[in-house]
Symmetry: C2
């Protein structure tokens, strides 16, 4: 396999884009990425998306977006793995270029959620759970995560307040990201009195839905080298699954798929957790940030919140996460999220992250989680 690098990135703001259809959103991100790459087109286009069939009555986004951005006739597919769809599409693009089958790929994650009634989106999100054994029992996606968080607090003795630092860091960083959905800082007191959604998950534990799209242009690393632009290589790409139904797992408090995919990328990149300068974790809920940090080897089992409490997850800390706001405050347009994470890691490695820039960031990791840990795709990007 030949080395693949990111040549361009683009994104829309995460917002309630009532004036833009799903093709317009995806198109905006794709064209921004192509412009950033100095290209007019790419050989293939892969779309990461979860729920356009429900939310926009539109499947078949590959052909649709290709036509819209002036890439009519090119190869184009959609990849879906629930909230992990974005990174799945990125991985497909990486493999297409790595295989030598194509010389360039543009990958876009897109989701449009706010045009539909909330109840419909709650039902659509529940299609990421096990329809027969979870959703059919009436359990929503937040409720599933609440069960995990409840058990985690019971098992390891954490209080709800101990998770506040995850939310506070994400919101503080989002203030400086013009693309973020919630650009406002929050305090410990606000966290404590936020509305309860599904005990113990309250409004400030949970990421907001939104409409948005983020994209990247992938080419062989040698193509970037000869262009004179900074070379940001895909040093590792890992992917693993677990049972969808949480009750079927050996350990509901351990993200096996995160551990497996992280191990794959560490090995491919030849690095250890301590070599990661910035980590865009999948903090759909504060508990997921904690579990992700543990499974990837940044914290001992049951000790994820300690990192947050000690300030180690801040941009100045040992393991900076949610540096552009994370899912919590940048927003979580589900099928787009994985691509936002990767775009943000590229911003960090290029030194374009402004007030939340991680000093001297050279190795960045992004981890995209589908379902409650059932499909996890991890990437390591590295400057050359």
């Amino acid at each position: 396999m030949r080395e693949v690098a990111v040549l361009g990135i683009g994104q829309t703001s995460v917002d309630e884009h009532w004036d833009k259809s799903i093709r317009m959103l995806a198109g905006e991100a794709v064209l921004a990425a192509l412009q950033d790459a100095g290209r007019d087109t790419a050989d293939v286009l892969y779309v990461g998306n979860m729920m356009s069939g429900n939310a926009s009555r539109q499947q078949h986004l590959g052909a649709m977006v290709a036509d819209w951005v002036g890439m009519r006739y090119c190869e184009a597919f959609k990849l879906e793995s629930a909230c992990g769809s974005g990174a799945a599409a990125f991985r497909a693009g990486m493999m297409a270029v790595a295989s030598g089958e194509v010389e360039s790929a543009v990958v876009v994650g897109v989701e449009k959620m706010t045009d539909s009634p909330g109840s419909e989106m709650t039902a659509a999100l529940a299609t990421a759970a096990d329809a027969d054994w979870e959703a059919d029992m009436g359990v929503s996606f937040v409720a599933l995560n609440a069960l995990i968080m409840q058990r985690y607090m019971h098992e390891y003795g954490w209080k709800h307040a101990d998770f506040a630092a995850f939310s506070i860091n994400a919101h503080a960083n989002a203030v400086h990201n013009p693309f973020a959905r919630l650009q406002d800082a929050v305090t410990e007191a606000e966290y404590a009195r936020a509305h309860m959604i599904a005990d113990p998950i309250n409004l400030l534990d949970a990421s907001p839905m939104g409409d948005g799209a983020a994209a990247a242009v992938l080419v062989p690393a040698r193509t970037v080298r000869s262009s004179g632009k900074p070379v940001i290589k895909i040093a590792g790409s890992g992917s693993a699954t677990d049972t969808i139904a949480i009750h079927s797992r050996r350990d509901a408090l351990w993200l096996s798929a995160a551990e497996r995919s992280a191990r794959q990328v560490y090995q491919q990149a030849g690095v250890e957790p301590q070599d990661i300068d910035v980590f865009e974790a999948h903090d759909a809920f504060t508990i997921m940030a904690a579990l992700s940090l543990e499974a990837c080897g940044f914290a001992e089992r049951g000790q994820g919140p300690r990192l947050a409490l000690d300030g180690e997850i801040l941009p100045s800390g040992r393991v900076p996460i949610a540096t552009r706001g994370g899912l919590k405050a940048r927003g979580h347009p589900v099928g787009a999220t994985g691509m936002y994470q990767l775009v943000e890691v590229v911003q960090q490695l290029r030194g374009e992250a402004g007030s939340t820039q991680v000093d001297g960031a050279r190795v960045g990791m992004a981890q995209n989680i589908g379902g409650s840990g059932s499909n996890i795709v991890t990437h390591i990007l590295r400057t050359e």
Copy 2:
């Protein structure tokens, strides 16, 4: 890129499988393919599916099917490109193995349609059309194809009866395929008096919906060689798109994406149309069979029906199509169809097609169409 070959195939019957959930259907085909390959597992699993989010309230089929077939923890994604989803997944599996990223891939196309009310499925199928410019105007998928067929007849002077031979051939072949949905022969008289759906498309022009799954195990060609089994190589894999909305095309009667993807595979495989021994075309409607034959170079523009009228599409003819019943009579479980076509081509190349075996078949082609020609994936398989 290294050469990739098909080591094993499996399929369920296309039927109203009210007693089987979507994971059970997919699992049955995957396990049959693994057994045929003499394997317990594969490195990755890709699922081709279009509408499980609507029909089964279940997205995230990758992780779900992987767990169900005993491949928990492996990489698994779903690919979607409307009715072209099956071949899209096959192509993703091919690239994963070709890239060297994995040593084996199992690919399954699956769709479950008959548990939902027909009106709901008609609406779900319409998500393959352009939501803003086609579906929103109330046009169904059959209606779109009826418009094309109407224009085709007007333009080239064909009568409706001239399309009967496509349907008669498909049904005659399905009689000998135990997996086919409609295992009964039809006559010219029956074709003429079949119920009208959307003029000029009647019930015997249109393929039936159904539940079903078909799967294949892909490995490097050298792995098959060393196993002593027959080597069926993927000699060509091509993919192209066109506008989704038919009114945006330069020519509504020409499948540009079929022409483009066919040219790609002819070039890769180093063959011409006349070298193809068997061609599993996407005969969702009789008009699509005609257009596909023309775009792939088997007939002159506007002359597709002539091949059928002359008996050239029969198993004994020059361009045998629908040799196991095609979409028309084997059935069209949309996201699974592309994989059924490929499995059937493998059956032909192995000489396992029974009464509808094409004598001495060594080069087979399968063409899977998403939308009314908007996403087309073509493969050529060849015995070594």
